[in-house]
């Protein structure tokens, strides 16, 4: 584990995260027992270490947003199950940190972002993540509602960006 001196204690980052997602306040209860690390599928195949991530957050070390580590979590909730504290929600903290990372323009190194675009398209056009759903399709009125709910969501921007790219490609082909 990385060593920090007393002068490096800084609660600003923690407060920011709690302002955004109130449930994050509970991470202060972490006793660094390491159960979450020992039982984590991501830790077995990568450098993902939730104890280290919580420590960085509590020390105000924002470098955690740039680290690729936060993008290795499987959101399997195993840590939540084995944590001796009742209300520490690590998967929610990870989703929050990823959100902050996205906002700052870091994000993960996607190998295949195309799949995200395809999934977003299907959801906003058909209301499912696969090509066609098994059985009757979702009525258009319901699909319109999903689009309205997703206004200003990242899913919509991904969808719009894909349409713009497609139009650009079409124009390029024509020219």
């Amino acid at each position: 584990m990385e060593e920090y001196s007393d002068s490096e204690w800084n609660w600003d980052f923690y407060k920011e995260l709690v302002d955004d997602v109130e449930e994050n306040k509970n991470i202060i209860q972490c006793i660094s027992c390491g159960k979450c690390v020992g039982d984590c599928p991501a830790t077995k195949v990568s450098n993902f270490n939730i104890r280290k991530i919580i420590q960085k957050v509590l020390r105000g070390d924002k470098s955690v947003l740039k680290d690729s580590d936060i993008w290795y979590c499987y959101l399997c909730e195993r840590c939540k199950r084995v944590c001796p504290k009742d209300n520490i929600n690590i998967p929610l903290l990870i989703i929050n940190l990823r959100n902050e990372s996205f906002k700052k323009g870091y994000g993960p190194r996607y190998n295949d972002l195309r799949k995200y675009v395809e999934m977003s398209e299907r959801f906003l056009i058909k209301g499912v993540v696969v090509e066609e759903q098994l059985g009757e399709p979702l009525p258009q009125e319901r699909i319109d509602e999903l689009n309205e709910i997703c206004n200003f969501a990242r899913i919509k921007y991904v969808f719009k960006a894909s349409k713009t790219n497609k139009n650009k490609k079409k124009k390029l082909k024509k020219s």
Partner: protein, 336 residues
Amino acid sequence: MTISNLSLDLDEIERIYPESPLDFFRDKKLCLFKACLEKYFPGVRWGIQDLLEELGLDVSMCVNQSCCSGTFFQRNLITRAQFAAINERNIYELDQQADIVLFSCNGCYNSLMRGREFLKNQDVKRKTEEILNSLKKDLVIDNLKKYEILENLKIRFLHDLDFLYLIRNDVFNSLKFDLKDLKVAIHYGCHYLNLSRDKRTADAYLRDKTKLDELVTLFGGTPVDYQEREACCGWGASQLLINPKEALKITFNKLKSAESVGADFILMPCPTCLYTLSKPEYRDKMNKWFGEKLDIPTIHLNELIAILRGCEEERCITLRRKTPRLDEIFEIITRE
């Protein structure tokens, strides 16, 4: 306003109907939640639908239900409030139609529970209400504005595995074949194993999950223990896209561990895990990256019940993306 936990109280059903828990469901309207991935594995849907119809239960699907959107929330593509709003819209529609919703997918089950859980946060609840109010402001049904966060919901949620275990004796009586002592590796899936609702009592938190094992034994098979029994399938929301090699290493370890103890197939209650553990492209990639071809078959519980009940092959497994040797298992089980 109290946001209720919508999971069905199984202990109470067992207490009131100790002889035949199926009786509890006789006068109830059941609805099957449509999991997106059932498209690739139709036997997962048809397996439970056919069984319920044969048992004389009132079963339907909700045409207005959309994808649970859990995958988008987990990939940071929608906010908590947007996720909760999609969830509440689905719950509203399901509540119009049914008393109990059955889930064939751990992910959908977890999403519906989690969406409700998020509403306990007042900020998320307020934002969710704002989103819902912006939908169809003028449409009023039964004095309810469509849509709003419903306080006194009659609807309850039930995972297929919990349901099938509860009515196991009736399921057993409907079977035409048995498992012929096949060795079965059990995979529960993270979002069944790790549900936080199970932390309500120390007993529920500490006890091992054994329902699938017990069903396998009842159906004439032998559950085999293996080191990666409780391990993740490797799906991990976006992991197969962001970090495919690490994700497939987890999948490989799981399959290899089950194969090593001589399991004939892996049984699970979730089509997302099934997708990850069985997709032929993933098996090929694992062979390329880790130097070993694994051909252990994988089956969803609903598909297995359809096979054991003697359903036609196309009603169980034919239409899905097959894993190697699945036909072999089908033949062994259905041999007269």
